[in-house]
Each structure stands twice: as structure tokens, then as C-alpha cells.
Symmetry: C2
Subunit: 263 residues, 2 copies
Amino acid sequence: MLEVKKQISTVSIIGSGNVATALSLALKNSFVDIIDVFSPNIENAKLLAIKIGCSYVDDIKYISKISDLYIIATPDKEISNVCLNLTDVDGIVVHTSGSVPASVFSSLLNNFGVFYPLQTFTKNAVVDFKNIPICIESNSEVNTEMLLNLANKLSNNVVSINTEQRQYLHLAAVTVNNFTNTLYTIAHELLAEKQLDFSLLIPLINETANKINNENPYNLQTGPARRNDIPTINKHLSLLDDYPDYRAIYNLMSNKIIKKYNE
Amino acid sequence: MLEVKKQISTVSIIGSGNVATALSLALKNSFVDIIDVFSPNIENAKLLAIKIGCSYVDDIKYISKISDLYIIATPDKEISNVCLNLTDVDGIVVHTSGSVPASVFSSLLNNFGVFYPLQTFTKNAVVDFKNIPICIESNSEVNTEMLLNLANKLSNNVVSINTEQRQYLHLAAVTVNNFTNTLYTIAHELLAEKQLDFSLLIPLINETANKINNENPYNLQTGPARRNDIPTINKHLSLLDDYPDYRAIYNLMSNKIIKKYNE
């Protein structure tokens, strides 16, 4: 019987965007050997390869065949196509998507999984991976163990979850990141119209985020809707007469809160 | 001609809730002399008075008549009633509300204004006032100067704004605090249903809040709606079949983002 390989030592990176860049740098900083980087855009591939100190290709046919791990960090819709070019490798092939099922690989690969870092990445921002949750899923116990071992080198916050859990986690991440940022953008616009500086809101935004470290957000809800203070809500709605899109959001959010706390 | 008094040395506090408590403690820490505290609930009045080291009354008729400043930190709907009991004082009467116009006082008082601290207060949380914006408005330049001087003892972030600006600021504060907290609550519920710990989202929540320190949130938007990624949006909507309230919010927020960035 062959000895089961338990350690991921060599990695190939498919993609050169924000997640590919952040993950590559984190792996490099954890002394994991990145063999090569693929991007269809040769300039992007080169740029990332220089940061990492590895080779690069713009034709996926020439990516290393002997890496222990292939990390596909491309847009979701390209994952299944990319995978068609990795059917002849022995290493584990993972994607980094919050929403694509692990089963996208199941008819094509023997060793596959998901390596989902739960954070918002910006290309030029340096990220401390130690606190970033990494969510692992794979097709076998051995592969899961290997992926967990690797993830634990990068982060102190590694969990093994299934596809359904990951999809809800991704949805929750969209909720607290994308939609929260949209609320920030709306507030920015409202203040700019009235010659007020957005920085006035920053202490409040920070406090709002900090409070949930120690408390269920349900218990932290305040504001007119929480108090069922209809006159203030109506005043706010009238202030929003020129902002019909946000007026609709204000209305729906307030009704949600009223329903939750006052009925 | 009488010398114009430029300094607020003595304060009476009307109310004993979160704002009254936080402001009283901040004033005390800035060595401003709080004369007395009024609350219709004698136990609450006493509790706050002990913290501050001042006298307390449960009948507003007996509040000091010679304070330089009266801070009304009651629910909005009680402000005009409270004010009826302060028509015989010389000091400045202010409220702390984000949404009530300063003009609520104009037919009854000679010296009045607004002292609005822009933060979310919890009764037992110690607050560092130094970074909290305090928004000042009053009926005269002299009163504004006196209120600004006092506010500058408490905070490094004091601004003079008018009623309309304050009302939009309050609306923006509701947006980034109350509605963001509701998004956190929704995410908490989604994860709990799938046996996932809410703490997985905390690094993302913190990063989302931190990013806006240096950048217009408009430029930080990411996610499926930002990319006009309809398959992922539809997948999320289908995950929300059992959450009709949140499904409607998800839909509206996503449409707002798509419209903003992709049209």
C-alpha cells in the first residue's frame, strides 16, 4: 500500500486577481512553495509572479503538472472551464468561491475541494491572514486533512464546512459587507448634498462594528424603528422625497425592525 | 452695558437615560460642574446623581434656576413639554436630539440651542467622548460660542450645523448604525440556522468598517450586484425562499447596486 501523502508542499495558482494575490502572498509568507501562476493576461501573471518569486504562464496547458495543490481563484463562472484543463493532475484542485458547490469538480477530478477565505480583498491592501476565517471542504477525509493543515499555516481561524453552509456563509458575507457598504455610500451621498463631511459618521460606524464583538446584534438594535417611533420615521421618509431608491430601502428596513421588535 | 457671559460653568441635566448618562459623565470628567439631575423616576435620578455627585429631583419645578446650561436628554416627544417648565431660567436650554428642530424652543425661550452628540450610547458602556462629533446649533452667536467652547472641552470633533443639516446627519446615522445592525442581525440568524458561528463574520465586519477611513465607500463596493452577477444573485434569492422579509431587502439592495454601477 502506498504511503498517504499528508502534506501540501507545492502550489500552483490559477488567477491573478485580488483573492489570488492575497492568498499567494499569505502562502509565500508561510513558506509554502508556489511553483507557478497562470493568468490568461500575461502582464497580470507576470506581475503576480514577480511578487511571489515564481514562474508564470498565460496558457494553462503549461501549468505545472506535479503541484500538490491547484488553487483556482478566478471569477465563479470560469471555474468549471479551468477545471477541464486540470483533469490530468494528481494534486488537489480547489476553488476559492463562496457560492460554487464543491461538486462542480466531481465528475472530472479525483482530488478536489474548496479553500474559501472569508474576507474582502483589495489588490493593493496588505492583509493579515491570521484572523481571516478559511473554510475548507473536500471530497475525502485525507484531502480535508491536508487542506486543513495548509490553512492552519495561514490562519488561526480554520473551519471545515459543507457546501450548503458555505453558501449561506457567503450570503451572510454579502449581507454584512456589500449591503453595509451600500448603506455607507447612501449616507455619504446624503451628507455630501448637505455640505457635511462623511468623517462625522466614522466614530459611529466603528462603534457599530465593534459592539458586535461581545453581543448578539439583536440585543444592540436602537433607533426610531426599534422604538416604533412613527413620527421620526415619517420625518425621515419625507427627507427622502428626492431619493426614491433609498426611501424604499429605508421603508423596508424600518418595517422589518418594527415587525421584529414591536409585534 | 452688561458684560457678556462667555463661559458655561454650571449645568442641569434633564433625563437619566443613555445620552444623559454618557453626557453627564463626560462633563464631569471635563470638570464641568453639574448642579442637579431631573428624572420623573426618582430611582433613576438618584442613580445618575450618585455617579455624578450632584443633587437630584423628580419634580422639574425644583431644578436649579441658576444653571448656565440645561441639557434636555429625554425622548424627542417630551422635549417641548419639558421646555414649558424652563421658561423662567436665564441659562441656555438645549436638547440632544438629532431630529427635533431648534425652533421647538423659539416661542418660549430666549437662549436655546442643540447639543447633539453623534454616537450610539449604551448605558453601561464607558464612552471616550474625545472622538465623538458634537453638533451645535443655537439662537445667537454668543450662545453658539458658549456651546462650542463647552463642546470643545469634551470632544476634538465639534461642528456648528443648522437644523436641516442635523436632520440629514441623523438620518445618515440611522442608516449606518440602525440598518447596518439589522443586517448584522439578519446574518446572525442565517448562520445560526446552519449551525455556523457568527464570529466567522467579525473580521469581515471590522474590515468593512475600517476601509472607509481612507476611501469613499462608493469606490469600495464589491460583490455579486457590483459585478452584475445575476446567477449568484438568483442563487442567493433562492437560498432566501424561507426568509421573505430578508429576500425583499436583498432584492432591493442588489437592484440599487446594479442600477448605480452597471447602468
